[in-house]
């Protein structure tokens, strides 16, 4: 019997599991597979708001009592970020920033995204600084176009010049290159030396260099630091198309920390059903080809994600279903007209708010606010009531809710 069964191996699941092991809990993660760590940009966005973020989060929580931040309280966000930084630090994954104000970081398209914290290898890209940039990437790599990125930055008044350098390795194989492969190349000193030698003469007054976020995987942060020393000015990473190398670095930290704590992470184990007695969950059952594998747990953290992560699915009529318990999903678009809202991403499309309603202890509740399972906590994108992409709260919510879920289990 485990103390804590975590369902889901995305950032919320793995982070909650790490926090539970820190409380001395016998913890096990069961999940369908690797998840949104591998598509996340890498920074930690808490809220897209000007000024002091802690105050803005508190204001948002007061305005929207069903928002996850209202349930977790704003202390959970600050405490969660502190825990995450402490967890990552021994592995060399350092985050910089603060809740006093956002960094403004460039994307591969040259857009500017606000984020409270970012890996140290991102922060020289803060667009609040006026330093002219050289945006550099390997010539012929389909996942990052320096000219596109630099031109869009320029249109917003940020001085940026593009440069495409030669990296013959990516043409030596006849197959596609993905970011993971490039990151492994940048783990090699000779690759870094050749790239730096091409970039240095092209600086032309640039005081910083932006490159796709592939500057090392297994040897990160050394790979990034070494490249930066070779080039001689600060080098910052810009997120690429998936798979996300910065997300993989975070996944690897979680994986190593859980292994060290003796917690098993079991993939390819989608939960088929939960075994429930009254208002308590007793166990999770995973089906294999011949029988069920049953894990008994004192407590369960449900971190299966939302519509993107697979914790919530939709049929072709737009009816939403939570996949593990069959919990009620709140906030689904009610008519096809709502589904086909004018714009999907840069709008308050109702689907973004759909999720599982929870009480302030993050226990799932029904339509009347009655607690359904007293030993279950919901963390991450499975929660209802927020629009991560538009609010700029995606990472903040998984961090705060993971911290709150574990805090309330061990209160």
């Amino acid at each position: 019997m485990d103390d804590v069964l975590v369902i889901g191996a995305g950032p919320a699941g793995l982070f909650s599991a790490c926090l539970a092991t820190q409380r001395g809990a016998k913890t096990r993660v069961i999940a369908a597979g690797i998840n949104t760590t591998h598509v996340m940009p890498g920074w930690l966005a808490a809220l897209d708001a000007p000024g002091d973020l802690a105050a803005e989060v508190a204001k948002l929580a007061a305005r929207r009592p069903d928002h996850p931040y209202a349930l977790t309280g704003s202390a959970a966000l600050a405490d969660g970020i502190k825990s995450l930084r402490e967890l990552c630090e021994p592995y060399g994954l350092l985050y910089a920033g603060s809740l006093r104000g956002n960094l403004l970081l460039p994307t591969a398209m040259g857009a500017a995204i606000p984020a409270a914290y970012a890996p140290l290898s991102f922060t020289a890209g803060d667009l609040a600084s006026a330093g002219p940039m050289l945006i550099a990437g390997p010539k012929g790599w389909r996942d990052f176009y320096p000219a596109l990125c630099a031109a869009n930055l320029g249109r917003q008044g940020h001085a940026a010049e593009p440069f495409a350098f030669d990296l013959p390795e990516i043409h030596a194989v006849k197959f596609d290159n993905i970011s993971t492969g490039l990151a492994r190349l940048f783990d090699q000193a000779d690759v870094r030396e050749r790239v730096a030698a091409q970039i240095r003469p092209r600086l032309n007054g640039a005081t910083r260099v932006g490159m796709p976020a592939v500057l090392g995987l297994n040897d990160y942060p050394h790979s990034w630091q070494h490249l930066q020393e070779l080039i001689g000015v600060p080098v910052f990473e810009i997120p690429t198309l998936p798979p996300s190398v910065p997300g993989m670095r975070l996944y690897n930290v979680f994986k190593a920390a859980l292994a060290r704590a003796g917690a098993q992470v079991l993939l390819n184990m989608p939960v088929a059903r939960m075994i429930v007695e009254g208002e308590r969950v007793k166990a999770a059952a995973v089906s294999n080809v011949v029988r069920e594998t049953v894990y008994r747990g004192q407590n369960v953290i449900l971190a299966t994600g939302g519509l993107y992560g697979g914790g919530i699915v939709s049929d072709h009529h737009g009816a939403l279903r939570e996949t593990v318990f069959g919990l009620p999903v709140r906030g689904a678009p009610e008519t096809s007209g709502e589904w086909f809202a004018e714009r999907f991403l840069p709008s308050d499309h109702p689907i973004h708010y759909a999720g599982i309603a929870a009480d302030p202890l993050l226990r799932p509740v029904d339509e009347n606010g009655r607690v359904l399972y007293e030993n279950v906590r919901v963390a991450g994108r499975a929660l209802a009531g927020y629009n991560g992409p538009c609010e700029g709260s995606t990472e903040g919510v998984w961090i705060a809710s993971s911290r709150r879920a574990v805090d309330t289990l061990f209160a």
Binding site: R28, N35, N288, G326
Partner: protein, 424 residues
């Protein structure tokens, strides 16, 4: 509480290709991709190429053969694509076509031979001293590599003239305490490796089961068929499967559980007969439902409160553990780690390296030996640095590979338990 969401159509493994969203999580996790440029990754040769595999048209498969079949792609996929299984099915097609094109290719003969480890064990056993001597001589291995393409450094186990079954039906029956009246029965599928090479694994399994009050039966059996299947010889694998279905039928009919020591043989009986070889008979289903991985069986026994825990204190002993790829594909979690955690004074650490590289017979092949070694290197390095002299792994070819490449002695979980119980 909730039905599986996958429509019935998608249960056919090839159709799971349609669930792929091309996120490349599998390619990022594949252990072969980082060490060779010959393999583009599971997404490309799996779900992506599957869309071009029209039964009537030539196949686009040039690099598929470099898939090691470890199944980490299937494991990490969050969308339910059975990537490795798609590849295995495509490899069988590839072999068929290669046979038509170049029937005398020595690599096809080599793959034919590697698929017949049962016969190799029989033959090698008859001339065990000569065979062991010959396999220990470098020039012989070089000739084997030149003619057959079996790499001269690939890890071969030692042949034995005597078989495990001989021990069981001979001295063990004479020496063991009689089974108590009404003792529950359990049948043991030992597989080729235990019968021919690793008797100690089989002895430990029999002793641990008997210690827990079972009467152990050893039904007639043959090779599970996996070595042929993974070398693309589905017809040969099916012949073995049907033979086992017949031989194990009476055990199943009597509702006696069948435990398997090797994680690969267990997976073959449980899942591959039906899912990959397409034997959708009531007998295949009934057999699968009676098959348990030995660790799974003992852990379930413990969950029912029936496993003896009279283990001796191990005084702070440390054992590194490697989870074999095929163990993970059982979808039973890590029962070995749960069992070993019951032993007082024993610390077992999962090494967290996905694959040792050998993946059945892949790492024996001259053109793939270096790839397999590079895949396993992080594990070998970690084990060498651990300071331990013994490691634990529950799959036989992984054990031989890890032992050869790391220098550690590698044993099965049940051997550790038998020792902790104080059994012979």
């Amino acid at each position: 509480m909730n039905e599986t969401y996958t429509p019935a159509l998608l249960e056919d493994i090839k159709r799971t290709a349609d669930l792929c969203v091309k996120c490349n999580i599998c390619t990022s996790a594949c252990p072969v991709v980082p060490v060779t440029e010959l393999f583009p990754g599971p997404k490309y040769v799996g779900p992506q190429a599957q869309r071009f595999r029209d039964p009537g048209a030539p196949s686009p498969d040039y690099s598929l053969d470099y898939c090691s079949g470890c199944g980490i792609c299937t494991l990490v996929c969050p969308h339910g694509v059975q990537v490795m299984e798609i590849n295995t099915a495509a490899k069988a097609e590839l072999r068929k076509r290669n046979l038509e094109k170049k029937p005398l290719d020595p690599k096809l003969l080599r793959n034919w031979l590697l698929g017949r480890n049962e016969a190799l064990g029989q033959l090698g056993g008859i001339v065990a001293p000569v065979a062991n001597l010959a396999l220990g001589i470098k020039p012989v291995r070089i000739v084997m590599e030149k003619t057959l393409g079996i790499h001269h450094k690939a890890p071969f186990p030692r042949f034995h003239f005597r078989k495990f079954r001989g021990w069981f039906f001979g001295e063990h029956q004479r020496e063991k305490a009689p089974a108590p009246a009404g003792a529950p029965k359990v049948a043991y599928f030992h597989g080729c490796a235990t019968n021919h090479y690793e008797h100690e694994v089989g002895k430990a399994i029999v002793r641990v089961l008997e210690h827990n009050g079972f009467e152990v039966l050893l039904p007639d059996q043959n090779c599970c068929g996996l070595p042929m299947q993974s070398n693309g010889d589905f017809d040969g694998a099916r012949r073995y499967a049907y033979a086992n279905l017949k031989k194990l039928g009476p055990t199943v009919e009597q509702d006696i559980p069948i435990v398997v020591g090797g994680t690969s043989c267990g997976l073959e009986l449980k899942s591959d007969y039906r899912e990959l070889l397409g034997i959708h008979t009531p007998e295949a289903k009934a057999l699968a439902e009676h098959v348990y991985d030995i660790n799974e069986f003992l852990w379930l026994l413990h969950e029912e409160g029936r496993l003896k825990t009279d283990f001796r204190e191990q005084g702070g002993r440390y054992l590194p553990y490697h989870t074999s790829c095929h163990q993970k594909l059982h979808r039973i979690g890590r029962p070995a780690l749960d069992l070993l955690a019951l032993v007082p004074g024993l610390t077992v650490e999962e090494q967290g390296v996905d694959c040792c590289g050998i993946t059945g017979t892949y790492g024996y092949k001259s053109e793939k030996y270096d790839i397999a070694q590079a895949v396993g290197k992080p594990l070998f390095d970690k084990l060498k640095a651990s300071g331990a002299s013994t490691a634990v792994c529950d799959n036989e070819t992984c054990r031989w590979n890890i032992a050869t490449s790391s220098g550690l002695t590698v044993v099965h979980t049940i051997q550790v338990l038998a020792e902790a119980y104080g059994l012979g």
